[in-house]
Structures are given as C-alpha cells and as structure tokens.
C-alpha cells in the first residue's frame, strides 16, 4: 500500500479530545393520516441520545434494526434534521451551519452507505463518482484530480483503469471500495460507516473491514460504525454504544462491554451473537420473547421492560438515566439491576 505523499492532509488545529459530540439528539418522525395530512402521532426513532467520538477513535453503534442507529448516522451528516438536541463537530454546532460552512463541514465528515448498489450513480463512471467531492469543493486542477483519483483507487485496492468503468461492472465488495474512495476524496477526518459490510459476503466483509482499519491507521480517521453485527463491532470499535428503541442502554469500551455487560438487553444481545466453540461454556444463552415494541408507542419506564427477563415492577415506572459506573462504562440504570 503506497502512502499518499503528495497529498497532505490539511492541518487541523489541535482541539479537545472529542471530535464529534452528540448530545440529547432526538428525532421524531410525524405520522400523518388522511387527506389533509393530519398529524396523528410520531415515531420516536431517536429519543435523547448522547455520545462523543474522539479523533482517530471508532465508536460502534449496535442494536436491532429499527432502533434508530442509521438515523443517528444521517443526522450527524445533516442529511436528516433532528427534532431536538445538538451535534457538535470540532467544536462547531453542525445544525446551525449554512451555505459555505455547511459545505466545509461536509468535506470533513463523510459517509459510507450500506447498500453498495443504490449508493453509486449507475450512469456515472467510477472516476467521476470518486471525483465528485473534488468537483463540488473545486479542489485541485483537472490533472491533479485525476492523479488523486488514481491514488485513491490504489489505496482502496482497485486498479487505475477502473476509473473508466461503470458501477454495474463491479461486485458488491468492489462497489463498497468505490464508496470508500469517494468518501475519502475530500480528505475527511471522520467517516460514518452505516452498516458498510452487512450487504456483503462474509469473506468480503473481512477485506472491507481490514481496509477500513488500514485507512484509519494511515489517516487517523474517526469512525462512527453503525452495525447490528456484534462480533464485527467488537473487532473494529474502541468503544461500543448499545441502542434499544431509540435510546442508548449501555456504553463501554469494547473489552468491558463484552466481558462485563451490565444491562439485561446488552447481555441478551451478547448471548445471541454466534461465537466460537471455545467460548461457549462461558455464557448461558438468554432468549428474548416477543417483538420489539413500536417506536410510535414506546413502553413506559425502561423501554426494554416488556421483554426483560429480570424486570421488576419499578421498571415500568421509572425511565432509567444513563449513569457512569466507571470512567469507561455507562449504563441506563434500570431498577431491575441497580
């Protein structure tokens, strides 16, 4: 892997340790019905989520489908406007950005989508797809852009001549490499990876994950890694946020979360992840019953209580708050275990 020597990353002033700071983020999608679009309710996709990600750090965001993790990723990028809360990036309030400032923010923060088929414009050649960010931000001359595209293709493990081909000529894994190259074109410091490998074969998943890790090491990228695959997140993330129905139930370093989970939902989630034979004796399997409740009518108190194997009557009454139990571990303190 040749390191790009000619393309220096822009100097970033040394700021505080956290690059991305999300606090009390809320997204309610209105449910409209009837001819006049009367508002009959709302889906609480994300309900008061706070976390921060440092420079060069990977924060894993895990949870079942529909728990709001992808919505968070899109709000961080400003693709969806939150109902409430703040997103600060490098000390600046992202939601208040307009025009040129918003554009500059978007240069520094990029996204890799889940679906490698919908995320590349089928009518654009790969070279133009990757160079789109450079076009938008008017970076470099025509020649330097071309060299940069070739360089990026190399970095993600593709050949320079792939620039002249169309997306449909590539496999899912290769398309995801193209997506990564496009995201890296503007030299961002942070990537939101929205389930970047869940649409790929397992053998290809490993390649893409390793590519993301290599790139992180070379460029000092921060990742917000959204996934439902615990083993994957354990491998790539420094810290992990576990989400349930729009709320964070537990945050800890990857190691701590796997060895000493506190929240019953985290425990259930961990026990459901497939594991190697050698580990099997360690954990008993917790089997949850019932469906995830609708985010339009979330349960009272602890949102997990209707399915929680250790729920107590107070669980339905008190809404647990995220409480720090060690410097690197916080958990939604439900009465059922505190």
């Amino acid at each position: 892997m040749t390191a790009p020597t000619t393309h220096e990353r822009p100097a970033v002033p040394a700021a505080d340790s956290s690059l991305l700071e999300v606090s009390d983020l809320v997204k309610h999608f209105p449910v409209r019905r009837g001819l006049l679009g009367r508002r009959v309710g709302e889906v609480r996709a994300v309900d008061g989520v706070s976390f921060s990600v440092g420079r060069g750090e990977t924060l894993g965001l895990v949870g079942e489908s529909g728990c709001g993790k992808s919505t968070i990723g899109r709000m961080v990028l400003g693709l969806i406007r939150p109902t409430g809360g703040t997103v600060r990036y490098a000390g600046k309030d992202v939601l208040g950005l307009r025009g040129g400032d918003l554009k500059e923010h978007r240069r520094r923060l990029q996204i890799v989508f889940q679906d490698p088929f919908s995320s590349l414009d089928p009518r654009m050649k790969v070279g133009r797809i990757i160079a789109e960010g450079l076009d938008i931000h008017k970076i470099g001359t025509k020649e330097s852009r071309r060299d940069w595209v070739v360089d990026l293709l190399r970095q993600v493990g593709l050949a320079p001549r792939d620039a002249g081909r169309f997306p449909h000529q590539f496999s899912g894994g290769q398309r995801q490499r193209i997506s990564i190259a496009r995201a890296l074109a503007t030299n961002p410091d942070f990537l939101v990876c929205d389930e970047p490998v869940s649409a790929l074969d397992v053998s290809i998943q490993a390649q893409i994950i390793n590519l993301l890790r290599d790139l992180q090491r070379q460029r000092g990228l921060g990742y917000l890694f959204v996934s439902h695959d615990l083993n994957l997140v354990r491998y790539i993330a420094d810290r992990i946020c576990v989400m349930y129905l729009g709320e964070i139930v537990e945050v800890a370093t990857a190691e701590e979360l796997f060895t000493a989970p506190r929240h019953p939902y985290t425990k259930a989630l961990l026990s459901s992840a497939p594991q190697l034979r050698a580990d099997r004796s360690v954990r008993e399997r917790i089997q949850l019953t019932g469906e995830v409740p609708s985010a339009a009518k979330p349960p009272s108190g602890c949102r997990f209580h209707p399915r929680c194997p250790q729920a107590v009557p107070e669980s339905a009454k008190v809404r647990p708050r995220l409480t720090q139990i060690s410097p690197s571990h916080a958990v939604a303190a439900c009465p059922c275990f505190t």
Partner: protein, 292 residues
C-alpha cells in the same frame, strides 16, 4: 504519477464522432431510423430546390390525375403536385414536431424535476395544475388554445405544447422522486452538492431513458395532433401544405383519388415510426448496463 496518468489517457474519451460510429455499429434499427429521419430533414430543407413543382400553384387542367407520368405522386383536386406538397409539408410537420417536443421536454423536465426534488407545497401546487390540465380532453384543450390564438404555425406549436408539457412534467416528477430516495443522491448531498447539482448531474441522466421514450412517442403524437388540428381548420392555415391538412382535405376524394390520402399517410407513418424506433435505439445505446 506519470505512468498512472498514461493509463487513464488510454481510456478512450467519449468524443461525438466515436460515439456516433459506435451507435451505427451496435444499433442497426436505430441507424436505419436515424438515416430515415435525416433523409426527411434533408428533403424538408431542400424542398424549394428539389421539388418538381410549386406546392401551391394550381393547375386546373390536370386536377386529380393519378400517380405516374408528369406528376409522380399525382395531383390533388386543385391540380397541385402531391410530391412537391409532401416535400414542403415535411418542413411544417418536422418543424412543428421538433419544436413542440423540445419545448415540452425542456419546460416539462424543469417543472417535474423541481417539483419532484423539492416536494412539499411546490409539488402539491404543480401537481394540482397538471391534474387539472390533464383532465381536459386533449383535443378540446388544443382546440380551445388554438382558436383563442388564431391559426398560425407558432400558435399550433404553443397549443400542442400545452398538451404535452404536463405529460413530461409528470414523468420527470415521478422519476425524480424515485432517484431522490437513492443513496447516491444522499452521498452527493453529503459531499456538499447543492440542489441544482443533484437535479442536473444525478436526476436528469438517470431519467434520460424515460424522457427519450416519451419524447419519441410524443413526436409521433404531435405530428398526428397537428394533422387533427389542421383537419379541423384551426391548425396550419391553407394553402400551406402540412401533411395533416393534406390528409384531411384528401378524405373528400378518398373513393375516387385514394393517393390524396395514401401518400401523406405514408409520410406521417414513416416519420412517426422512424422517431419511435430511433428513440428506443437511443435509450438502449445510452444504457451503460447493456453490453457494448
């Protein structure tokens, strides 16, 4: 870096001429229909030079003569040479057809793409107007507009555009809504692209196949609609030889002089067919997924 640049340079650039050559090589039907269209245009442009007679000068001595002899395609009830009239008629029909389609394509796409991407109240308002226009029977609407403006070729184009713009707009809107929800649009927005860029760079290219198809279908319909308006006396004013007008005037003598109807009919059918087939071929040609 120079070797890499060299590799990129070896990727053939899409110049106009190499694309045209590739079109002729890969799209046989398209090449034939394009040739027919070009032939029509050539005849239309060169009509004053190559037409054997003046299309509007009457020759009472030889009215309603059959095809062959001095008049290759015969003469009409006023003794005007049919071949010359069809050649000159190509001017009007192609002029009306092209201008109407281009006008509707441009206006309809702008309205549709904007409505589809911006959505909300803008979309709802435009949809309401489009629905209202489309609920009126097309010929009645054209009649209304044309009779309001009076018979002239420009007004015919205007009246026909009023008919076709809503169809283009509706198509473009639906396509833009579909494209808008794709992740490549999100990716582009995330890169910092503005509305115009998303609509022009991602929207239009991805709806091109649909636009081409309705344009080529529309072309045929416009030529026929022009004929209908002329038939009703509010289209191309006589004695200008439009194909539709010739067709309508010829029906009176259909029993005794069928060539008055048959030849303009053939001209219309051929032109419509050529445009439809060319449209299909162009759509296939521009699809990167089809093997080249």
């Amino acid at each position: 870096m120079t070797d890499q640049a060299a590799v990129i340079d070896r990727i053939p650039a899409d110049t106009g001429w190499s694309e045209l050559r590739r079109f002729f090589k890969t799209q046989t039907v398209g090449a034939v229909s394009l040739t027919v269209i070009l032939l029509f245009i050539l005849v239309a442009v060169a009509a004053p030079l190559i037409a054997p007679y003046d299309p509007i000068s009457q020759d009472r001595a030889s009215f309603l003569t059959g095809p062959g002899g001095a008049h290759l395609l015969g003469t009409d009830d006023l003794g005007r040479d049919m071949l010359s009239r069809i050649m000159h008629g190509a001017q009007i029909s192609l002029y009306v057809g092209t201008l109407t389609v281009v006008l509707s394509l441009v206006i309809g796409s702008i309205i549709g793409v904007g409505a589809g991407y911006i959505g909300g109240a803008v979309d709802a308002t435009l949809q309401g107007i489009i629905d209202a226009v489309m609920s009126i029977p097309p010929l009645i609407l054209a009649l209304f507009v044309a009779s309001l403006l009076g018979p002239s070729i420009t007004n015919v184009i205007f009246a026909l555009s009023v008919l076709t713009v809503p169809r283009f707009a509706r198509m473009a809107r639906g396509e833009m809504q579909r494209i808008k929800s794709e992740d490549f649009v999100n990716a582009s927005v995330a890169l910092g692209a503005g509305r115009i860029r998303v609509m022009v760079r991602h929207g239009l290219p991805n709806m091109l196949p649909s636009l081409i198809v309705i344009s080529s279908l529309g072309y045929g319909q416009v030529i026929v609609a022009e004929a209908a308006l002329s038939f009703l006396g509010i289209g191309t004013p006589p004695p200008e030889p439009s194909w539709g007008l010739m067709l309508s005037q010829g029906t009176t003598y259909f029993q005794t002089a069928p060539w008055l109807v048959v030849f303009p009919g053939i001209a219309i059918s051929l032109a419509v067919l050529a445009f439809n087939l060319f449209g299909d071929a162009l759509r296939d040609f521009l699809d990167p997924k089809l093997v080249r």
